[in-house]
């Protein structure tokens, strides 16, 4: 199984350090507007949702790219923009149904999460609460299943 950024929203405190560490590593400055990960804060609902590219199995962005600039690596599964080939046409931006690839003005290229290209993902390294993890197994999913299973188990014990 390939490693992925796993996100557990209940652990998020809305600090946006993921956006800061991402833009600092990849764009050379602290600029949330250029981050490849998005930490949205809903003040009224006290809700914090973080999303980033999930490296689709059959990526819309790669299928849409007319210049073959977006590739999915066979071994890691990472979907990456080859900047030398990108012509900045933004077709991928339209194609991605999740909005997880964008056009970046200063380099005139498409830009998306590549899981830090082999380095340990910077957003995960700086996440202060463990909301973000980088692992093969989907621990947040496993935890949810176990919570559900435990609820069923306790219900059965009562009968």
């Amino acid at each position: 199984m390939a490693k992925r950024i796993r996100i557990e929203p209940s652990k998020c405190i809305g600090c946006k350090t993921c956006e800061l560490s991402c833009s600092f590593k990849h764009q050379g400055m602290f600029a949330p507007s250029l981050s490849r990960i998005y930490n949205e804060v809903f003040l009224e609902e006290a809700s914090f949702i973080t999303v980033t590219c999930q490296q689709c199995d059959d990526p819309w962005c790669a299928r849409a790219c007319p210049s073959g600039a977006i590739v999915k690596h066979p071994d890691t599964g990472v979907v990456e923009v080859i900047e030398e080939k990108c012509v900045g046409c933004r077709t991928c931006v339209s194609a991605c149904p999740f909005g997880m690839i964008k056009y970046v003005e200063y380099k005139q290229k498409a830009d998306k999460c590549n899981l830090c290209g082999g380095d340990f993902p910077e957003c995960v390294a700086f996440c202060p609460t463990g909301c973000l993890t980088f692992e093969e197994e989907d621990e947040p999913l496993r935890t949810k299943i176990l919570n559900y299973v435990n609820a069923v188990k306790e219900g059965q014990l009562e009968v």
Partner: protein, 602 residues
């Protein structure tokens, strides 16, 4: 390359309805860092200290720091600098959330607001595009409503600072709210904004903050991150219970001010503690930009007496001011009153302690019931909620409460019942029990305040080392050091709470790698001292003479009645001369020419 700072100052004149960008004065930035320091330098250079705080000649400066907007260590902060209508001193009031960093992303180091609009206006900033617009549709609204309006009419992702009705009506301790629930709370900065007919500032920035040495900055941030994650205060206490973790600790140490400082142990502390709050009200924790602590409490009020509502707080100071200081142990009522403070946009510390002052004067028969319109006794939770609402509206007796405790008590001929220094009310620690804190209160440049030199940290919590709170020895040295470090923290754009875990070494590493300046720890401390001294000089010229470096008679003469510190008074007559000496000021409390020269001020 100089990083951290952007290099731009935005100057807005509301009388002329004009604005312009000008280059940042880097010579000043190097000496005064940013935030509180640099904002104060601009302010003191440009504003006559004798100015009437509500006149158009007073200015309001929004000042993030060079680290604001980075991930250094809880770098989501900025300062609001102006002359305070409450104290007559220079006021800088700090807030976090997301608004301060957004100013940096818009490419701005400082916003200087001058003059006075002829009618209610708000300001929008989208990078270098600035507009001043008519605010008649949002005048009278609270910060929640204002933000919703500006998100729909200006920009969905804008970050917003605004005043509520209390600021409009110039309640002397009105706050400037941002991101709905964060507040530049103290010293009445919101009243100054209201006097300028300025309802809100909305900013959207899509640019970035660069640092001089990326590798070193990342290392420095990682060190700070690790330290904050290893400290029991910042890694466990504050995330679990917020600042309200202090209620039980401070009460057990016998310095939780109760019933307007008549008592120091609150019999019902457990009912209003952070632990109880976590059980009864807490929804979840929340952080400001780039903060790994997350002390903010998102709470839900489900008491049938009140409208069901989600909000933020109460935090420790608020629990004291609206709770123990009013003799109130009803956590739901405290939370309701806190929400009201947020909605009207005012400082819960001054608001609550002013009610407490009125309660004591009512019980002593000094304020007649007819003036208040109802009985106002300690412990009456409903009365506190009512009084807070009246204060926010400036209706009935609230119009007098809106003046703060000093002016209220003076109106009735008894200023001694105001628990304040330089007319600003005490926060939640009795200075009689922590001598360093007493000295800090007496000498703070904005009147009684806990975040100008948090001596509770060494005296009660034992960070960075445990000092005997009752002793006076060495307290002048410690207080000066804490005041100077705090000035540095407030100026680089960092949250003060990080300093439970990190020290001047961490801060220096972050600052030097961000800015590219080759500063030592001593250089940083010197900058802190410089900042403290220019604030002091402004206050002296404003007519706040050193005789006001004092405490209410109650703290100086009435011994603590109960608890572990029974019998204690604040020994200011011992502490103050040592402090002036430690500061290198004359025995008259005035900075010497020699000292000013040493600090590159004169």
């Amino acid at each position: 390359m100089l990083g951290g700072w952007i290099g731009n100052v935005l100057r807005i004149n509301l009388s002329k309805m004009t604005y312009n960008f000008e280059p940042l004065n880097y010579e000043w930035a190097k000496l005064y860092l940013g935030g509180r320091g640099l904002g104060s330098k601009y302010f003191t250079e440009e504003v006559d200290p004798t100015v009437d705080p509500f006149s158009e000649d007073n200015k309001l400066i929004l000042s993030p720091g060079p680290l604001t907007g980075t991930y250094g260590a809880a770098n989501g902060r900025y300062m609001m600098i102006t002359k305070s209508p409450l104290t007559g001193t220079i006021a800088s009031s700090n807030s976090g959330g997301y608004f301060p960093a957004e100013l940096k992303y818009a490419g701005i180091d400082l916003v200087i607001i001058e003059g006075k609009a002829s009618h209610p206006v708000y300001i929008t900033i989208y990078n270098n595009q600035v507009a001043i617009k008519d605010a008649s549709k949002i005048w009278g609204k609270n910060s929640d409503e204002v933000e919703d309006y500006l998100h729909s009419t200006f920009h969905r992702d804008a970050k917003i600072a605004s005043i509520g009705p209390a600021g409009e009506k110039q309640v002397l301790f009105a706050a400037i709210m941002n991101d709905k629930h964060r507040a530049a709370g103290r010293s009445g900065v919101g009243a100054v904004m209201g006097s300028k007919n300025l309802k809100a500032i909305a900013v959207r920035g899509t640019l970035g903050v660069k640092v001089a040495d990326r590798v070193k900055f990342r290392e420095a941030a990682t060190d700070a991150f690790r330290a904050i994650k290893e400290s029991p205060v910042t890694a466990a206490g504050l995330p679990a219970y917020g600042t309200a973790v202090l209620v039980n600790i401070i009460n057990q140490n016998g310095l939780l001010p109760t019933r307007n400082f008549q008592d120091d142990v609150f019999e019902d502390a457990e009912k209003i503690s952070g632990e109880t709050m976590a059980k009864q009200l807490l929804v979840r924790n929340k952080a400001c930009m780039s903060c790994m602590i997350g002390c903010a409490r998102v709470t839900k009020l489900a008491d049938p007496r009140y409208k069901a509502q989600t909000g933020e707080g109460p935090e420790y100071e608020t629990i004291f001011a609206l709770g123990s200081d009013c003799g109130v142990s009803d956590l739901s009522a405290i939370t309701k009153a806190n929400y009201l403070c947020n909605e009207y946009g005012m400082d819960p510390i001054s608001a609550g302690t002013t009610v407490a002052c009125a309660m004591e004067m009512f019980e002593k028969g000094i304020i007649p019931q007819g003036d208040i319109g109802m009985p106002l006794k300690f412990g009456d939770a409903d009365a506190v909620v009512k009084m807070i609402e009246l204060t926010g509206k400036r209706e009935g007796f609230g119009d007098k409460l809106a003046l703060g405790s000093y002016r209220l008590a003076s109106l009735y001929g008894h200023p001694e019942f105001s628990m304040s220094v330089k007319k600003q009310e005490f926060p939640a620690y009795d200075g009689r029990v922590a001598q360093g804190m007493a000295l800090e209160y007496a000498t703070s440049n904005r009147g009684a305040c806990h975040v100008r030199g948090y001596m509770i940290s060494p005296e009660i919590m034992g960070v960075p080392e445990k000092l005997d709170p009752y002793a006076t020895e060495n307290k002048a040295f410690w207080t000066k050091t804490f005041q100077d470090v705090t000035a540095v923290v407030d100026s680089v754009g960092m949250c003060l709470f990080t300093t439970f875990a990190i020290n001047i070494n961490h801060i220096t590493n972050l600052f030097t790698s961000a800015t590219g300046l080759d500063y030592t720890q001593d250089d940083m401390m010197k900058a802190g001292e410089r900042i403290y001294n220019i604030e002091r000089l402004f206050n002296l010229k404003a007519g706040i003479d050193p005789s006001q470096d004092t405490l209410p008679k109650r703290l100086l003469e009435e011994p603590v009645k109960q608890g572990p510190a029974k019998g204690m008074v604040a020994k200011l007559s011992v502490l103050l001369p040592e402090y002036y000496k430690e500061r290198g000021w004359g025995s008259d409390g005035i900075p010497t020419q020699e000292k000013l020269k040493e600090l590159n001020i004169a």
